[in-house]
């Protein structure tokens, strides 16, 4: 696994990303972040708080689907309460994420784990959009029965696990072989 990631890093170094990372690191904004010790920790704190808002909401919606929480609320109430928080938090995550890339472009862009995380993020967003549409179609039926079909339950567990993988990869960016 380590060897594979190292080979990935070697390949990233041969791409245009190297020039891009160097160009970003010469930008005044990158220099400003780099010269202020607390800039990166503060951006990371905001990033983690946004994950807390998004993941907390993801957990509450999916626990409702699994019938493990919020049973006295309708599916409509639960999704109306938590869905906007997920998408707004995602916006904050993207903005703070861009801030981290600008602050430390080489550490992020020439990092195999960063790209693994990006693929996982796109995956979780696409799966969530599809899942959201499916849940919406079945919402009326669920108001009565409280729980959906097996496939939907697997989807609910899968989305929680995908988010956990995103966070796992996020933390491992700091430990990648670069």
């Amino acid at each position: 696994m380590g060897d594979l990631l190292y080979a990935f890093t070697e390949w990233l170094r041969t791409t245009q990303l190297t020039e891009l990372a160097l160009a970003i690191s010469n930008h005044p904004l990158s220099i400003w972040i780099g010269s202020h010790f607390w800039a990166i920790p503060i951006i990371q704190t905001l990033h983690i708080l946004a994950i807390a808002a998004a993941f907390g909401s993801v957990v509450m919606i999916n626990l409702r689907i699994l019938g493990l929480s919020g049973k006295r609320s309708t599916m409509t109430q639960v999704s109306r309460r938590y869905l906007p928080w997920i998408w707004w938090a995602l916006l904050v995550l993207v903005l703070t994420g861009i801030g981290m890339v600008i602050g430390e472009p080489v550490r992020e862009l020439i990092n195999p784990v960063f790209w693994v995380k990006m693929v996982l993020v796109i995956g979780v967003v696409l799966v969530s959009l599809w899942f959201q549409a499916t849940v919406r179609r079945n919402m009326a039926q669920w108001e009565v029965t409280h729980d959906g079909r097996v496939a939907i339950r697997i989807g609910a567990v899968g989305i929680i696990l995908l988010w956990c993988m995103v966070m796992f990869a996020g933390r491992w960016i700091a430990y990648a072989p670069v």
Binding site: P41, Q44, L49, I51, A54, R81, F168, G170, A174
Partner: protein, 167 residues
């Protein structure tokens, strides 16, 4: 008893040296720690926002508490276990770090805040459970909870940038 030798004993213990020396143990436990803390704060914030009247206003306070609290506590147990494992790997370093001590202080404050809420205004929760205005004391508790937990994250992240500076 000399506390410094206690921290050193933890570091040289089988668990402490394993976490410190293994290539994958620390990052893996740290990842689980982040997932657990994010779950704790995400679910607590849902409750705090209800107390502040900023979200879930159409739902009873006790219903929100029943929906979130078991998951908050479950995640907290995982955060405490993983946090302890990270701690023993560099116990003296953490104890010398002001941000680690500040994080622990914020955890104590968050715990006390929750205890005070439950021993005081929460006793009459059935009078203000739904529809009625939340008493000011409960709103203050909600706001303080958000404040303390935000600082837990900030100090937690600050530790990673300052470990080793204060030894």
């Amino acid at each position: 008893m000399d506390l410094a030798s206690v921290w050193q004993a933890l570091e040289t213990s089988a668990v402490g040296s394993f976490v410190a020396e293994s290539a994958w143990a620390f990052p893996t436990i740290e990842s689980l720690h982040v997932i657990a803390i994010v779950t704790v704060i995400g679910t607590i914030a849902i409750m705090d926002l209800r107390l502040l009247g900023l979200a879930s206003r159409d739902r009873a306070v006790t219903a929100m508490s029943n929906d979130t609290l078991p998951w908050t506590w479950g995640a907290f147990v995982i955060a405490a276990i993983t946090g302890s494992l990270l701690f023993v790997s560099k116990a003296s370093g953490y104890m010398a770090n002001p941000y680690f001590l500040a994080k622990m202080a914020m955890l104590v404050c968050a715990g006390l805040n929750m205890a005070i809420l439950h021993l005081s205004v929460w006793r009459t929760v059935h009078h203000w459970d739904s529809n009625q205005a939340v008493p000011t004391a409960a709103k203050v508790a909600g706001a303080l909870s958000l404040f303390f937990w935000i600082l837990v994250v900030f100090f937690g992240r600050a530790i990673g940038f300052t470990l080793g500076i204060y030894e």
